[in-house]
Assembly symmetry: C2
Homo-oligomer: 136 residues x 2
């Protein structure tokens, strides 16, 4: 079940410059994290009620975010929705005709993650996130 919007991901060319801009814009400090599985470095801003704005800089040309930047330039990259049981939710969505990039949750920065294919969601790259429980 979809619980809330977890974060919005923004693809950027230069994380350091973009962090400085968003810190000025949002009046918040970023938390920087490496996400080698997705080949990106992330700057995470927790805005109000915990919804995050995540800036994503590719670690190298093999990153999916590098390909996005090459094709479309900087901008909104994906929206992440928090779920409580990612594998069950993926199965239910596939049953409703949604095309999946990941058939099962895999390890990500925020917990277990999986992507839905933009082709079946109006061109929007949707990430599902099942956050780690405290103490895990």
């Amino acid at each position: 079940m979809i619980k809330r919007v977890h974060h919005v991901g923004i693809a950027v060319n230069n994380l350091q410059e973009s962090v400085a801009l968003f810190e000025r814009l949002l009046g918040l400090k970023a938390h920087i994290e490496e996400a080698p599985c997705q080949r990106v470095t992330e700057a995470i801003f927790k805005v109000g009620e915990g919804v995050e704005i995540d800036l994503l800089e590719p670690m190298g040309p093999d990153s999916a975010v590098a390909k996005f930047l090459e094709k479309r330039g900087e901008g909104l990259h994906h929206i992440a929705l928090e779920v409580d049981d990612i594998d069950a939710d993926l199965e239910a969505m596939e049953g409703k005709g949604v095309q999946l990039i990941d058939k099962q949750g895999r390890e990500g920065v925020a917990g277990k993650i999986a992507f839905l294919h933009p082709k079946s969601v109006n061109g929007v790259l949707v990430e599902l996130v099942q956050p780690e429980k405290e103490g895990e």
Copy 2:
């Protein structure tokens, strides 16, 4: 001051089809609203804690969303941030070097709204929203 993420806007070609898809995906019902000032029809989904996902269908070829669809196709269109004093926030942002599309808040569906120029925010179209107070 930025209080929270208010909504994420998604440009779509066919609102009826996209509403059906997102209702299945999110397990929620949409609220449909006309926004003649922005020349769009909106389908609003309140996801968890009140953050909205808004689907936007242009009312005609003169709509900015129609131009977006023509150029980039369906997908993530803008992110809206809630503020408490839109005119003061716009002035402060301009002072920090952010290029504004709207120098002052104007009437929108959710209250007073204004857009920042994507050129100065890493290619992201950012909307500021100052919601109407209850009873206004």
